[in-house]
């Protein structure tokens, strides 16, 4: 018994002749690793958003009640979405900004749907650490750029939802949405 083990050990210790046992060890370990991974994945994936959470992933918004100059907040996937009716002056301000003056350069036209420049729809979550900026109501503080102001760490966004003053690093994110008619959008 001891003799066979020594023999196998000698063969297994690398060297030019890889043995059948080396091969079996490799295949068995690789199989075990793949098996553990296959068992772990369902457990890990179960923590991702579930089907019922994903099912709630679109909402329709009627735009008629939103007065010019103010906005509303709708809940989409548990996140607040700002839908704001911009005034002509606000649109002009957003379009006239030089891109070089922006923290994350992006043209206003890339942030609204063509032909619907009076509607800006953004995810109302500050890109710094996730607070909800103020500014939907005309009476809210809107910061120096007339858009939104985050009370947590003082980030400021313009009327296109672009960050103009830190610490937020990015513009307010845009949700996927489409105009179903001139007065109705579908988010998600």
């Amino acid at each position: 018994m001891a003799d066979t083990m020594t023999v196998n050990g000698a063969h297994g210790a690398g060297g030019p002749g890889a043995t059948k046992r080396d091969f079996l060890k490799l295949v068995a370990s690789a199989g075990a690793v793949i098996g553990v991974g296959a068992i772990a994945w369902p457990l890990i994936d179960s923590m991702n958003p579930s089907a019922d959470v994903l099912a709630l992933s679109s909402v329709e918004v009627d735009l008629t009640p939103i007065a010019e100059g103010s906005g509303i907040t709708v809940l989409w996937r548990g996140k607040p979405i700002f839908v704001r009716h911009r005034t002509a002056k606000e649109i002009k301000e957003a379009e006239d900004v030089k891109l070089s003056a922006l923290i994350e350069p992006q043209a206003d036209s890339a942030r609204v749907k063509a032909g619907h420049a009076q509607w800006i729809v953004v995810i109302g979550i500050c890109t710094h650490l996730g607070c909800i900026p103020l500014g939907n109501k005309p009476t809210d503080p809107r910061g120096d750029y007339g858009g939104w102001f985050c009370p947590c760490h003082g980030s400021q966004y313009d009327t296109s939802g672009r960050v103009r003053h830190g610490p937020a690093p990015l513009n307010l994110n845009l949700p996927d949405y489409a105009f179903e008619s001139n007065t109705k959008i579908k988010i998600g």
């Binding site: 890990i44 923590m47 991702n48 958003p49 579930s50 959470v53 907040t73 809940l75 996937r77 548990g78 996140k79 607040p80 710094h128 650490l129 996730g130 607070c131 909800i132 985050c150 009370p151 947590c152 760490h153 003082g154 830190g166 610490p167 690093p169």
Partner: protein
């Protein structure tokens, strides 16, 4: 009868068990006669206090879980029910909530003890590193526990802290969605935090066991920071240190009771009396006091990813501390220069804690950056360099030489102590 333990206990029942499973012999060895340096000061109480605190947290937590509902719609009200309707619910919850603060007070003092007396040095490096793991587990448990009452500060604290992971390049947002189980902190998040908040304390018990096991291999450090040279330097753990620990436990419970019965909301935020509202952020989000220094480090760095890395780095640096400190001398008693720097570190951490509680404006930004800079400078530059340059004071020959005039006689218990010249 080969393999049976030869028990020395006279009681036949204990003897019968001990013969088959020598737990009594083990307890006697590890907590009865266990040789412990005879010169401990009260700083050496805090390990035992932390253990008592952990037990208090687990016991109160198990009872609270019997009445708590981990559901976004029910959680806040179920906590109010515990406070108003459940028999002694108010007391159990206040003990649990303030127990978290007490746990961190005790642990931070325990950690300071380790820094001051060089308890992390050879051969106790692994013991120290296990301790840092315990600290990390404690922080994770405390953070998730704070989310459970589902008030405004719970909700927004969870949002801000989980959002830290979005700073990770490429996969950050997927990780955050995975942590949340949705697209914002919500019901799924609360439910899993409850599950993990219940689990982690028991993991903590396991790691604490390893911490103690490692301690019983190396033996305790002591205020002089020199190794035990023989039985004349030690006392049996029982009754000497069981009694000394009991004194500490009485004081600990006294402070604890004052918190629970007189100022139960001293450490809590008024915003957490408002139910969680995903559509309104409180004017100021402040974490619990024990996270403030780390929060201040996070905010001191203008770059999001940089801030997150510095914050985690401030704990990670403790892991490698045994190799950063190049001095062979353990105790600050014999390192006069290092002692000054260590007090500077304490001031820096307290400053960071104060900065973390204020809005990052004006002087606070500046103070936070200076203190952050010193924190890392201390560990990464001062410790390695100072160990080579510092002239340390002469170390005493042995513990008993220093403690007892004439070197101390044999143990009161009459253990086989030889005159130390021969050791």
């Amino acid at each position: 009868m080969v393999g049976l333990h030869k028990s020395e206990f006279a009681n036949p029942v204990i003897n019968w068990i001990d013969t088959r499973l020598p737990i009594f012999t083990m307890m006697q060895k590890e907590y009865g006669v266990f040789p412990t340096p005879k010169n401990f000061n009260y700083f050496w109480n805090f390990g035992a206090l932390a253990m008592v605190n952990l037990v208090i947290m687990i016991v109160t937590g198990i009872v609270l879980a019997m009445n708590y509902k981990p559901d976004a719609a029910l959680a806040f009200d179920s906590v109010q029910r515990i406070m108003r309707d459940v028999n002694f619910g108010w007391m159990i919850r206040y003990v649990h909530a303030n127990g978290a603060s007490m746990f961190f007070i005790v642990t931070y003092i325990h950690l300071f003890r380790g820094l001051y007396y060089g308890s992390y040095k050879m051969p106790r490096e692994l013991l120290w590193m296990i301790g840092v793991v315990i600290l990390l587990l404690m922080m994770a448990t405390a953070f998730m526990g704070y989310v459970l009452p589902w008030g405004q500060m719970s909700y927004w604290g969870a949002t801000v802290i989980t959002n830290l992971f979005s700073a990770i390049p490429v996969v950050g947002n997927s990780i955050v969605t995975w942590l949340w189980g949705g697209f914002a902190v919500g019901d799924a998040t609360l439910n899993r935090f409850f599950s993990l908040h219940y689990l982690l304390p028991f993991v903590l018990v396991g790691v604490v066991f390893l911490h103690v096991a490692a301690l019983h291999i190396t033996g305790s450090n002591n205020p002089l920071g020199i190794e035990v040279k023989g039985p004349q330097d030690t006392l049996p753990f029982h009754p000497y240190y069981t009694v000394k620990d009991s004194v500490g436990i009485c004081v600990f419970l006294l402070v604890f009771a004052v918190l629970v019965f007189f100022v139960p909301n001293f450490f809590s935020s008024p915003d957490n009396f408002i139910p969680a509202n995903p559509l309104a952020t409180p004017a100021e989000i402040v974490p619990e006091w024990y996270f403030l220094p780390f929060y201040a480090i996070l905010r001191s760095v203008p770059n999001k990813l940089g801030g997150v890395m510095m914050m985690f780095g401030s704990i990670a640096v403790l892991f490698v501390l045994p190799w950063l400190d190049t001095s062979k001398v353990r105790s600050c008693k014999f390192r006069p220069v290092y002692r000054q720097f260590l007090f500077l570190l304490v001031i820096a951490v307290i400053t960071l804690g104060t900065v973390g509680a204020h809005r990052p404006e004006g002087i606070w930004v500046y103070l936070g950056r200076v203190a952050t800079l010193y924190y890392f400078l201390h560990f990464l530059v001062i410790l390695p360099v100072l160990g080579k340059l510092e002239r340390t004071l002469p170390l005493p020959e042995s513990i008993s030489r220093k403690v007892l005039p004439g070197g101390g006689g044999p143990l009161p218990g009459g253990a086989a102590a030889k005159p130390m010249e021969k050791m």
